[in-house]
Amino acid sequence: MSGGVLVALAGQPNSGKSTIFNLLTGARQFVANYPGVTVEKKVGYFSRGENRVELVDLPGTYSLTSYSMEERVSRDFVLGSQPSAVVNVVDASNLRRSLYLTFQLLEMDCPLILNLNMIDVAKSKGMEIDLEELERRLGVPVVTSDGKRGKGREELAEAITRPSPARGLRIDYGPLEPALRRLQKLLEAQPRLVGRCPFRWLAVKLLEGDPEALAMAREGADDWREVEALLDKERESFSQEFVQPPFRHIAFRRHQAAEAIGQAVIKTTHAARKDFTDRADRLLCHRLTGPLIMCGVFYLLFELAVNQGGRLAALITPYLGQMQRFLEGFLPAAGYLEEPLLTSLASWFMTSINALLVYIPQFFILFSLIAILEDVGYMPRMAFMLDRIFRRFGLHGNSTLPYILGGIYVGGCAVPGVMSCRAIPDERARLATILTVPLMNCLAKTAFYIMLVDAFFPQQKAGAMFFISTITLLTALPIARLLTMTVLRGRETAPFIMEMPSYHLPSPRGVLIRAVERITTYIRKVMTIVASVAVVIWVLLQFPGVSAPRMEEHAARAQTQVSQFLAAIDGTPLAAKVKDMDQVTALLTLREQYRADKAGAAGDAEASRMVDQRYREQDPDFLAAFQDRRAKTYRALDKLRKERADLWREIKQERIDNSILGWLGHALVPISRWAGFDWRINVAMLSSFAARESATATFSALYGIGGGGQSLGASMGESSGDGQAITALNATALMLFMALFPPCLATTIMVRVATGRLKWMLFSFAYPSALGLGAASLVFTGGGALGLDGWQAMWAYYALAAGFALLVGLIPERSAITNT
């Protein structure tokens, strides 16, 4: 046997499947989706001898029915892809219960290898497992491992590549056997079913009443009527005779068989002491301390990832800036009046990418912490504690993780948030979560909030930030409920039932692998999308641009500015060195460079002196003009700089005004004016569709922030041109809109990936647009009519939203479960 071998890992959740997967494949793995469904497919490779093994990590399941997507996926994979071996990873300390799945795998006639993982845990619990007896009873190879300490890799790899022996144990279903035989015989007489699945397996599944198996048989059987008739008869008569339907009997026999094998192979040498998990949960799930600790965990996530990570980000920002300036040095330099197009595009591109690179430390910390929580086993506890609240709103306990990743307070990213929705077993709740996670506050929106809060609510900063941080959750919850009651009505729901796994010390390797995996996905997905959309947005902001006659006027003004400058410095030593526009431009560029160098050396007197020294050696007259406030040349140059900046800003504004996006911004005014948005705000919002951080940049450009040294509030508050003045009420409406605004393009694409439907992607864009606009209009128009200021409107809206959430939460839920 050489070349590719396909091997699957199957097992119950928390059996250590992923650990074994990592152990076998190392870093050679990638993640994909199973076709058409949102279940994650992990594939990895390893080589042994001349065998190259492709290893697939199937989703963790307790059983192989067709009720959940995970189980269907696992089952279809084993039946459809016919792997040359299936490794059944089992938590050895829970062998008895794990065998339930093992039997079902055996029933599917796949070459099985039983991997007794967590053998160390079993030992410490005082269990001794008779491997030979187990092997004999099951009829398949048994290999032990301690995934955490990396033990058992060699033996597993060996077993996988060894040609596998005959089929293993077959469960004896006792009184159901005659019926099974009769059904199997009839199925074997259906030629079209041959090769699709083992007949005995199909017979068992049909008697169980498994919907997928029924569909398969109905569609594949040559004479379905006959099969159906027999099936009904057998089910009926069995239920009559043994007072329970076959499906219950089947499950019961499996458990009995597991019990019997367990008794035969497990010896308990010493009684397990009251274990750690139990004691820990007494605190961690306690009525009072549980929620308190959970809040502490939330706070810690926020503090470490957003705050401390933010500091780290602030540390690397200057270096990113330096790198950008360094790269920009290779581009054609700007003229006095304008930048070459290439330079402008490249700078915009680099700025967009840098805006994302800055977040990497924060995300790395966040992802690592979450991976630790997952590895430790705390996530199910969060789900346990929060399920009641989430369920009220049509969500699920497992919606916790996506919401945290998305930025439940502030500072997340909807992309990993949407991706992590896979863990929600309930389809309806999963879709509702996917569609509402983008309403959370991502890190990129935060900069925009801070800008507005600083400008308009300087006295109430903390309150305003609290408003914006919590209003999103307050909105997302009732929306989720409304979605489940309307567009998601009738979607498949699933029981909550889940295992509360034992706590484990996190394994650094596993944590690292998971965090790196998430961060690379983030980089791959977000970066590529943002980079390409950034270019598109740039084009939309650039063209058609300022008309030629207008440009001539600007050029004339530039000429005047330069002439005035030259006249002002006449007679100074500088005048001999700069005589025309090109030289003046070069001087201005050098001045900027000097400023940047000084800023880079800020706080370090020695380095700062060195910078001065360097420029002095180059030209003392230049240095004087840059730095000597009393010099005539300094004042003239400073004035010129300001005039040029004003001119640039005007041109930029005119260009945006005359761009495609500007045109769109104008076109939307009839709708957006109810929310108090003029065309400039519209443009800023539209341009932020690529990435939220560009809203801040476009906004600053349009309102001329950072130009004449005017404060943000002042320059926005000023009525200029055709734009109106911005008030605090505007700011509130704007922040609210930003919070509820449709997700960025990267998120939208993730919604598409996670739901597999274009329809949901479009919906995830459309409904927040309407919602955001509605909420902003309510605040602006409604608040204006009542004469509220921004601060009052904020809290009036908050009260409304809270009341609405409460009301929706009180709508009684219809139980999807029915009695039999």
Partner: protein, 74 residues
């Protein structure tokens, strides 16, 4: 009586299930079989779901799901 009305700390034995379909199958897959003994460990801080221990491991389920498990007090 049904599992959902038991208080934390009580021990009981499963008599049967009164639901089929998805929930019934899930319950059985996790081991809710006639004769199995289980112990209610705790309710969640907001009272729902509850956590039970059986066959050496812990499972959480919602009260409305537990109401389909017939049990007898031990």
């Amino acid at each position: 009586m049904t599992l959902d009305i038991l208080r934390p700390g009580s021990q009981c034995r499963v008599l049967g299930l009164t639901t089929a379909g998805n929930l019934g199958q899930r319950l059985m897959d996790l081991g809710f079989h006639p004769g199995v003994e289980l112990r209610v460990i705790r309710n969640a801080p907001l009272l729902d779901p509850l956590e039970v221990e059986m066959l050496g491991y812990c499972i959480s389920l919602r009260h409305n799901e537990a109401s389909f498990v017939e049990v007898e007090h031990l």
